[in-house]
Amino acid sequence: MTTIPLFHVLILSSLLFAIGFVGVVARKNTLFILMSLEIMLNAVGVAFIGAGSVWQQADGQVMFILILTLAAAEVAVGLALLIRMQKKYHSLDIDLLNQMKG
């Protein structure tokens, strides 16, 4: 049992998640949206680790490792898509992607 109360860990986690969410919603630059997604995934990791340390179970850390793999795959695909977008539009503005092909 750690001395840090779970409530405070959850406050930190939700603060970070809210900051990341605002970034995803408000920013126009796709690179900044990806960075905000990283912050959101990280916030979820904080919640998992905090819960795992309060109940003294390793499951929290296991879930964090799975989130880490998810973040790595997501960033790889996202940045590849961004490189493609930069080649096509010479800009990273997400509003350029508001039309479908069909």
């Binding site: 001395t3 930190l12 900044f32 795992g52 179970q57 296991v62 880490l68 790595a72 590849a80 961004l82």
Partner: protein, 176 residues
């Protein structure tokens, strides 16, 4: 008073504050590279939080994989975007220490915090009592969570294939 100041709790709140400030600077930033710098600071602060919550294995993974690998991926992508012209027109006029002072101060606070934790024998003892060892995590990973690990490996493989497919130049052609 001093004992209160250097308790695990207050160090956790300080690291959390650093994480929140750095994240705010990431979200509100204008310069891509500066935002990446603050993102590194934010991830390091979260790693310190993990260490204080009794998860040193997760803290190490956070530093190595997040701040080490994923952020380098971001930096390489920024290099490939060829924002050179953008940087020269939009970069602030005064170059020098002032640009990185904020991030350096936040990182310095984290460094001081880590030194305080390592030097304080009482705190080390408290942390050792609450730690979840990496051995337990490894046994969990290859025991009840084996299927999840396999699925994660498939996810990484498909991420690799998809990023190669999307990022390859059009002119080379080929079946993939």
């Amino acid at each position: 008073m001093l004992a209160n100041l250097t308790s695990i709790d207050s160090l956790f709140y300080l690291a959390g504050l650093v994480a929140v400030i750095a994240s705010l600077k990431v979200v509100t930033g204008h310069n891509t590279v500066h935002a990446l710098l603050y993102l590194v600071v934010s991830l390091l602060a979260v790693a310190v939080c993990f260490y204080l919550m009794g998860a040193p294995f997760a803290a190490g993974l956070e530093v190595i994989v997040y701040a080490g690998a994923i952020l380098v991926l971001f930096v390489f992508a920024v290099l490939m975007f060829g924002l050179g012209k953008d940087e020269t027109t939009n970069a602030p006029k005064h170059t020098g220490l002032a640009n990185m002072l904020g991030a350096m101060l936040l990182a310095f606070a984290l460094l001081v915090e880590i030194i305080v934790i390592i030097n304080n024998a009482d705190m080390q003892q408290n942390l050792q009592a609450t730690v979840i060892s990496s051995k337990t995590v490894g046994i969990m990973l290859y025991g009840p969570y084996l299927l999840a690990v396999e699925i994660a490996s498939f996810l990484l493989l498909s991420g690799l294939l998809a990023s190669y497919h999307y990022a390859k130049p059009d002119v080379t052609g080929g079946p993939l």
